[in-house]
Symmetry: D2
Subunit: 158 residues, 4 copies
């Protein structure tokens, strides 16, 4: 039923995951009184950043290691509209990839666990001269090793 | 080279098309000094609305005929970043579809005709009780007939 | 030191107040890596809505009573920039007014209690034909009575 | 009738001015089917930038001279709502100021020359270490001399 955009290949560790609560802001609504479709990109980014913070691989972690992670691709499937004054769960998964890229998958659920939206994003890694990285940068390679051998822990707060 | 998301099947009329100029607003830039990826949804919508206005099939035309056309799907492929104080061309194509849906394809080009971004969107048609339409509403069916027999003309201004 | 935009006149009850935590979203940053000035309107609205929810006088409470509360005026004073990955406190005050209008005052503080931003907004009350209300609508008049005699309590959740 | 926020003192040159056309984007509308109040900051910025481009004193001109011009204050008075599929005129005035600051005044008019919105913004000038400039930077001082003696001309395109 749920759309799956990436898959866990044989030998890959399970995706990293993170769940946050989201709620539509009034400024995100459109004349139909639902969230304007383009604003879901904000929510997906909140998911990516929450997962990044949880595991020490956020925008700033990459940036402090000389790496920028621009979006290469993003995709949204809308099933049901998000409404004002309701809260939703956003589940974010990061799939394993051998290459220097980040494959995220997103699902938004309402309180009855109905899937409202799904989607995915792909990010490349570039250095500060905008040269595309072929290999994962060392700090991220290190995290990936732990991810693979099952010792990756949540980042300490702060 | 250029990604194509929909195709013109045998017997289909050629896609309707529209080209507009776009320029990044300062408020659309991110800390990398490029357009934040989520803001491209704004540009694609400008393209859809310009094509809708050109052929009399905009949001308001549908709405005045009791039909809302919510986004079902939207997809973005980012090749090169859009920058401040540059102007770009956004080409919008509407592909023929027998069903009551709108398949749009988008391409953004810089002044050297390099493709910066491409993407597509799919819209369904629903009535004001949010029931999904199986058949095209009469006013749109009428426009489609003209589209197919080659007599669809640009809408009069106003 | 702190700017004050409205004042509590003799005989007025103390302003209603509400404090929430805010944090800049990546999509709200500008090329200077700070929150783009226009996005503070989003934060102030979060403050108004939190206070409205706390006391049963939110947009939806008014709307369900046939009243819309459009902005008449909004003002921002920027002292220090808001940054990514920091959290701030937004204090919102609603000042007493005999007339059918809402006078809100806002202050944003960082973790060291430095004031980053202040501002105010004024909202009128209009009925659904956009006629300006001279008198407070009954449900709000009721709340104001309790506010004045000190029996206004926080709204029950939900 | 029209609110005036700054004034031309004796001896000051007349304000610089610029007029552009604006139109609400669908993504800027709120559930009342009017432009959400916070989005007017986008329009005022378009006005500032158009005037800056016209006279060679845009964000980029300042930036290329080592100066950033952050907002210190912004104010909006809303008289009538802006609607979708209508076009408006935004008039932007820059008032003379001896100090290193930019005092802009804005008015939005509909096709019948009714004033829909007015407001103002104040920007300071800071160097790249965020030190506030007491004196106008040389390139801007130069422009101001021409402004005062009546020889300031519109910037060449590009």
């Amino acid at each position: 039923m749920k759309k799956q955009y990436f898959k866990q290949n044989h030998g890959d560790p399970a995706p990293l995951s993170c769940e946050i609560e989201i709620a539509a802001r009034f400024s995100e609504l459109d004349p139909m009184n639902i969230v304007w479709h383009g604003n879901y990109a904000v929510y997906f980014e909140l998911g990516r950043l929450a997962l990044g913070k949880k595991y020490g691989m956020g925008y700033t972690d990459f940036y402090n290691n000389g790496v920028i992670i621009p979006l290469k691709q993003i995709h949204f499937d809308y099933f049901k509209s998000l409404e004002f004054e309701k809260t939703y769960k956003l589940q974010t998964l990061l799939y394993w990839n051998e290459a220097a890229r980040l494959d995220f998958e997103f699902s938004i659920y309402n309180e009855n666990k109905e899937q409202m939206t799904s989607g995915y994003s792909v990010q490349l890694m570039v250095d500060k001269n905008l040269g595309i990285l072929v290999n994962k940068p060392p700090f991220f390679e290190e995290l990936c090793k732990k991810w693979k051998n099952g010792t990756l822990r949540q980042a300490e707060n702060k």
